[in-house]
Amino acid sequence: MTQTNRLDGGQIDRDATLSFTFDGKTYAGHPGDTLASALLANNVRLMGRSFKYHRPRGPLTAGSEEPNALVELRSGARQEPNTRATTAELFDGLSAKSQNRWPSLAFDAMAINDRLSNFLTAGFYYKTFMWPAAFWEKLYEPIIRKAAGLGSLSMQADPDAYDKGFRHCDLLIIGAGPAGLSAALTAARAGKHVILADEDFRMGGRLNAETFAIADMAAADWAAQIIAELCTMPNVRLMPRTTVIGAFDHGIYGAVERISDHLAIPPAGKPRQILWRVNAQQCLLCAGATERPIAFENNDRPGIMLAASMRAYANRWATTPARRVAIFTNNDDGHRTAQDLHAKGVKIAAVIDTRPDAQRSHDYEVLQGAQVKDTKGRLGLTFVEVAQADGSSRTVECGALGVSGGWNPNVHLTCHQRGRPTWDDGLAAFVPGGTLPPGMTVAGAANGALSTHGALQSGRDAARKALGLKGRAPAVPKAEDAPVNQSPFWYVQGCSRAWLDQQNDVTVKDVKLSHQEGFRSVEHLKRYTTLGMATDQGKTSNMGGLAIMAELAGKSIHEVGTTIFRPPYTPMAIGALAGRMRGKEFHPTRLTPSHFWAKERGAVFVEVGNWLRAQWFPLPGETHWRQSVDREVTATRASVGVCDCTTLGKIDVQGSDAATFLNKIYCNGFAKLAVGKTRYGLMLREDGIAMDDGTAGRLAEDQFVVTTTTANAAKVYQHMEFVRQCLMPDADVQLISTTEAWAQYAVAGPNSRRLLQKIVDADHDISNEGFPFMGCANITVCGGLRARLFRISFSGELAFEIAVPSRYGDALMRRLMVEGEEFDVTPYGTEALGVMRIEKGHAAGNELNGTTTALNLGMGRMVSKAKDSIGSKLSERPGLNQADALMQVGLRPINADHKVTAGGHLMNATGPVDAAHDQGYVTSAAYSPALGCMIGLGFLKDGGNRLRERLRLVSPVTDLTVEVVVVSAHFIDPEGERVRA
């Protein structure tokens, strides 16, 4: 438990010690540490294995661009694969495991791949594993799959909660480094609503990692002071631990705030993460820059990292990967690392600078015009071999090597709306291009202002410009303003196993092979070699690959271009994108007015769209659902049953043109429907296919109540609004959905009238004469409660539908049960409802499947030729009116014990059973208690002329063949006497 590589200073809280484990071994760290910094402090450099060759790896970076140091964080259901040790905040009790290795991190059997690397080059798998064909799934692929992948999921449901929220601001600033802080201060002092988001848990960006001064203060202190001021301002919202993942249309930014990831488990009532949708009037991208590596032979050993990351570990986290380090650089920034580490007492073995004229130092040796040729050290760097300017070789012993190839502005979000960055020769880097997401500006290092002073100034100026601030600009504090001296240096000549993409094991050699084989477009390069497709999305690797491809192709880097930057900026938990919409909360649950009553009755419920409906009401002693359903059907047909049909869509249509309107949306006529009458209506889509059916009752000259099927309520309403607003804009007609406003119950069976007469107020005559079949009326019940009564029947029995305001629905149901006792009233559910409608031959969702016409449904003659209605013209097309068109029929098994299956296909009694001889299909099936056998509805070619024909019903997928006979779809009361009783 000794932090042998802990240095002085830093922004860690040494007063507190945190205990954590990595691969079962216990270590200590401090608040402010990341897992990576704490492991480095404990002299652990080896943290992972690469994807393909299983090469030993340590952290390359100190941030979210990390490709190597990925761990499985936490355990049990909270196990989180592929977590970057470089961004995981240390907490007491943290446990992490290395991944993608077996049996251990230090000894990984799959490292055999590294020995075979010459065979496993880019795209080798496209050229082999083809013989024999069946071996792919059986042999090759399982091996590849097992070896591939990185970390593993726990396979248990994620126990944590995620939330979503909306935020609005005048200016969203992404990144709280010098540019972001400067911009935030400028905007905030001007009174603007500012959101400042930063992926880090400590705001300040590079200022926390540097030793230079701003306004005569340590940079980190200056940052802390600005942040403190911003904290006091009510118009500023600071969002640390928040990654802006993407720039979407119209100023919408997605941002993930990690609320509890720095804790062992989320506090009670707190989510793990929140996905914010930030609506920003303006956005200022201050995402900084990412240091880029140089490729050289074996540049991936644990201990080799980016120089500025090494500096960040020393300055911010007071740790170093080794006590003796070397630096390999092509620019001045590498020297800064050497100076800072030297100042912290770390031995600088050498600074290897590619430039012949590199500055010398009194504190350590600088090898001018030198390059790293190769490195050694199986599980951690031991020394590097340097090719010196004079051609001689030299070995430099070191436990870590900081590498700096310059900086790449973080342009990712500028490209999320398919803008492309442009190449800046002066910076030798891509900078934001001309086409940014509307409302976005870029400042600081992200825009190529790489000095601290430049960043401060550009942040201030960009904020002023974005917000249109006038007046004199506030002064920018004094700060480092070193000139930028980046020149391209991508790889050391002659190297081959020099890693570009460390996670996916893409080397310089692979890029060359890709070029050799014609995969020369950057997208081909990416896809063929997998360069940049790892979890770091190429943040440290892409540029090197592009540069080498450009060189091989004899083109400029600009001509070669980049691949497309896609959201998210860094990978984010899928759970956060789902938020609370999971489990039972996946969709809203709509309850019917009688729900709680039905629950008391022990009803079994079924999901019908978002509704929960009573499916059947089991009685004591009933052990199989069929017993309950058969009883409900039989009892309803014998006396009276009640069913909650509130879920049917109800649309109130009002206005002097209401009848004209209905005449347009229904294929059958409605203009002449008398007040107090209801009519069945069939609605077509404009393409002539049946959309929905239902009834429309005319309650007044200028008022209709339209009902729809449960499933199509929203769709029909939308369609009606389209017709009203887009096709009949001058008509006087208004629509409103009243589905939820009225509780509606079907009261069906020969005693239904008698039951209703007990609750309908006496001044309303509901006798057969006073209120005949298809009547409708506004009435009152139970002594003055307003209600609507429709004499319509889905069951085929004498039946009514009665509606009362929803809040009386529960009471009405209970009252019907009490009043119905003398008739043995039976509540019935959706199953019995379905059985009765099949017995009666009514079409429902299974028949109105979006491909059937009025003709198919046996209602061809309903399509009025006397008027124009939606769909009437296109329903006349020949393909929809073939002589042998499918027609709805009824089906009975020859043997009453045989099963009829919905989804079965119909075949002639003899002859082949195949698609070419298909005669139709079964849409609905049920056991009919009245007939004592199963029955079905189906569509049969020329079905109208094939009554009494014997067919085979085949359902090979459920292993069924049954002989059936074609019958009328109206199994019950075909003359319709009962409904008129």
């Binding site: 249309d249 119209h250 919408i252 709306q417 929203a714 607003q725 887009c726 006087d732």
Partner: protein, 90 residues
Amino acid sequence: MIIHHPLLGPRDSAEFVYLGAAALMDRPDPETASADDWHDYAYLRDNPAGPHRELWFHEGGDRSILIVTRDTTTHEITDVALARPAGAQI
């Protein structure tokens, strides 16, 4: 996306249901239209890469249908109007 509703101001597109090209408002005259007219109306689309007039139904709002002019290459919205003008017969 954000749609600036003429009556309700900026609204998230998630409140809306997309109904398709605004050309769907130009239903053929049933008295005079040919079968080809009906076919073209129901099935053929300009489908431009650029400004596109299209219908959005404010299902999660005031239920008005808007004619939105939106560039299909950038998603930029340049105009929003009510399909049924507010002054229409009520």
